[in-house]
Amino acid sequence: MSETFSGSRGLTLEQPLLFEQDSPGLTAVDLPEPAAFEDRLGGLARTTPPGLPGLSEPQVVRHYTRLSQKNFGIDSVFYPLGSCTMKHNPRLNERMARLPGFGDIHPFQPESTVQGALELIDTCAHWLKTLTGLPAIAMSPAAGAHGELCGLMAIRAALEDRGQPRKRVLVPESAHGTNPASAAACGYEVEAIPANARGRVDLGALKDRLDGEVAAFMLTNPNTCGLFEDEILDIAQAVHEAGAFFYCDGANFNAIVGRVRVADLGIDAMHINLHKTFSTPHGGGGPGAGPTVLSAELAPFAPLPMVVERNGRFHLIEHAAEAGDAKPFGRLKGYHGQFGVMVRALAYMMSMGSDGLRQASADAVLNANYLMARLKDVLTPSFEGPCMHEALFDDRFLKDTGVTTLDFAKALIDEGFHPMTMYFPLVVHGALLIEPTETESRQTLDQFIGSVRGLAAQAKAGAAESFKAAPRFTPRRRLDETTAARSPVLRWAAE
């Protein structure tokens, strides 16, 4: 079926596994053989070699260059994944993280030799606290889900300190899956709160479920339908009157940076995904970082380690005994958090400044509303009114076409766009969640709009078969996920 002898097609190159390119004995790293010495392995030397393949440097470089060419990235395409904030990743961030003074330092060097690193953490913390208006921050969480765990653990520790740990965490139906998973990891039962017809939390249903056993309410704001929770002050009041804490999933912070004071919304804890709002690269799935801002009431329970400044010198508090009156709930992460990610985020924040961040959230919201305005007559928007930084549609526009949300998204790949987020949030049928971010030009948005409108017309004209066949111009076409899951092959093995 291949049109060429090699299987490659011009710029679309086939590349076998590393293990299929083995020339035993080759290496791309030259190291001198050490002089004879008496080992100290105590008889525990490896008895069989691990079986890693041998390659030279040019082979390795070509291998990974070819693999990279099979990927979409923000650098090459519009990547409007809702809830993921795929904005441009500035290269200055990368250069700064690679300064030897940041990249080549060890977490356990004497404090006197890492004052600049501690200053960096402290400065990054200052920016994030100022942007949210909350007084304290835990810098160590490694990702959004880790930040959720951090916030919930601080909440649980605070409640236990009051002598009442409580039993339940309330989470909207539209929440990211990490919310209930984090609550469960913190020993809480999870109860879902339905959305109202306007795509927001059903305040009445929430009030009905708020009792003396509710520890926290977790809310994403703007929510996963791309809407600002306009009753948030009433929500906060109800949560607090029940003696519970209000946790905010900050995944969508990009919509409101510099324009909304999180503290004034009544929020007690919120994680911030540095890899979303603050432009650090997603890297094919991490590493990210999820620093978590905390209210004054939760601050004493923040985890170790923490950086403090005394008389112009920075200190690292690594043990509860050094933390004074504070009662840290423990340690969430090895060493001092995702330092390299903090460097990148700070480089971004300094580049944008308070004025630029405010413009960025405005442009992110503007871009999303522009897409909504130009697409609402051909797609089916799930809710009325302006959206925030992402536009949510459902699959009613595909009714009776034989085309599904998945098919539609796969056809966009052939148009040279990464698909939007699909089938999330769960509160609408066949969701298509489009987040353009502020770093896309109007020309890009117009091209995308052109493709989406064209595809919508095609779907309605009865071209289901061509949608089912998409994508056609990718290195691989649709993959058989059923076979992958029924008989998992998770590693290469010698024949």
């Binding site: 050490p34 691990p50 990547y79």
Partner: protein, 448 residues
């Protein structure tokens, strides 16, 4: 503002297309009391040069590994990273892509994850590995939770030779669950009795090899005892370079192997980001946390890769997921896998040998310094010594002489006065004979 492509006229036209007078009207759902009308009290935007100047000044206040003879380890190791690694991971198609949920446009990421999983399984001697976790410490906590799921038991035992951060992260993460954590005292002399504590109440025993204080252990007898009592043996590897030279955990009967992969391709970066390694036996696959990449075929019958078994994960299982984690450490896994590909079998072994040779040379040289005693009978590239003075003060004095001379053990265990004289010292392929000489000479002078 160099990252923002919209012009003022774009903004005007787009507002007109939307049919609103200003951007502010798009924020109408925000309660007025919480709106900010003015920029926050932080500096205004800045060009590349200004940012670079400010951050470079901060960076310059740190003493880097390249500026000083360097002997720190304790879970983070300074290794040489081949130039090609950093070049390749900065290709935009890797750096700026998302988790590979759309496999047709992410075969690059998926294939390297498949290769990564294979490499991790091979070097640890295990059957399957996942696509990485956040770091060694969080992988350790996940292993304890997984052991509790597999055995349906509610207690885990942590060795005193396990990295103290892995211990405290595990204890923290399990704090609000119904699983009890017993952490044994730090054990620099290697005298703790684990076999005697193995019983049918335990979900798992978590050990580390090489141990936190450097010594190597043979866990075969412990593994047999665990098997007899239905307890899982979890083996941590904080320095995976050791696996080029020493028997891997899989060969010693480990049920779960966790590790910190930072040594390969990922710089020290003040300890983060790192790379959590996680491998196990195939029969426990369904209980394993984290993402997995698997091989399959596409619509044309060609081989390809997808994320698979995702029903274990939070985005499907929500509160019943095996773990709350969503991201892994994709780019660090890429760096690891490229470095490992460059080393190959021969380079992996050679690297381990050079590390061990340098550590042996360092141990021999330090042992000649008056008052210094090497207390690790066996080791790979890191060992513990006792000093006649508090180790923390000695390390400060060494830093004053421009030498980064190890990690005082008491930094992790302030309430154990017996650890006050204990210093952890590591050597890697980056150390020269001159470094070792400078260290030993300075140490001799400080202890005089």
């Amino acid at each position: 503002m160099r990252y923002l492509p919209l012009t003022e006229s774009d903004r005007r036209d787009m507002l007109a297309a939307i049919g609103v007078p200003s951007v502010d009207s798009l924020f109408r759902d925000v309660p007025p009391a919480a709106r900010r009308d003015q920029p926050v009290d932080l500096p205004s935007h800045a060009g590349e040069m200004a940012v670079e100047r400010r951050l470079s000044a901060m960076a310059a206040r740190n003493l880097t590994g390249g500026q000083a003879p360097f002997f720190l380890g304790a879970g983070i190791y300074r290794h040489h990273i081949p130039a090609a690694v950093d070049h390749l991971i900065q290709r935009g198609e890797f750096l700026t892509s998302y988790t590979p949920y759309q496999p047709e446009v992410a075969q690059g990421t998926l294939q390297y994850l498949f290769e990564f999983q294979t490499q991790v399984a091979l070097i640890t001697g295990m059957e399957v590995a996942n696509a990485s976790m956040w770091d060694g410490a969080t992988a350790c906590a996940e292993a304890a939770l997984m052991a509790a799921r597999v055995t349906k038991r509610r207690k885990v035992l942590l060795s005193g030779n396990l990295h103290p951060h892995w211990r405290s992260v595990t204890a923290t993460q399990l704090r609000f669950t119904d699983i009890a954590v017993e952490a044994l005292d730090p054990d620099p002399m290697g005298i703790e009795d684990l076999i005697g504590r193995v019983g049918s109440d335990l979900a798992c025993v978590v050990v580390q090899n090489p141990g936190f204080f450097g010594r190597l252990a043979d866990f075969r007898a412990l593994s047999a005892a665990c098997r007899d009592s239905g307890v899982l043996l979890v083996v941590g590897v904080a320095e995976p370079a050791s696996l080029g030279l020493i028997e891997p955990p899989g060969a010693m009967g480990a049920d779960i192997v966790i590790g910190e992969g930072q040594s390969f391709g990922v710089g020290m970066s003040f300890g983060g980001p790192g790379l959590g390694l996680f491998a196990t036996r195939e029969k426990y696959l369904r209980q394993m946390p984290g993402r997995l990449c698997g091989r399959t075929i596409d619509a044309d019958g060609r081989p390809g890769y997808v994320l698979t078994l995702s029903t274990r994960e939070q985005h499907i299982r929500r509160e019943k997921a095996t773990s709350n984690i969503c991201t892994n450490s994709g780019l660090c896994a890429l760096a690891f896998t490229i470095h490992m590909a460059m080393l190959g079998g021969a380079g992996f072994e050679r690297l381990a040998k050079v590390n061990h040779a340098n550590a042996v040379a360092l141990a021999q040289r330090l042992a000649k310094v008056k008052g210094v005693r090497v207390i690790s009978p066996t080791f790979f590239n890191e060992f513990a010594v006792t000093l006649p003075k508090p180790a923390a003060a000695v390390v400060e004095a060494l830093a004053g002489r421009g030498i980064l001379g190890g990690v005082p053990a008491q930094r992790f265990y302030p309430s154990y006065p017996e650890l006050e004289p204990v210093l952890l010292v590591a050597a890697t392929e980056t150390n020269t004979a001159e470094d070792i000489d400078a260290f030993a000479t300075a140490l001799g002078e400080i202890l005089r």
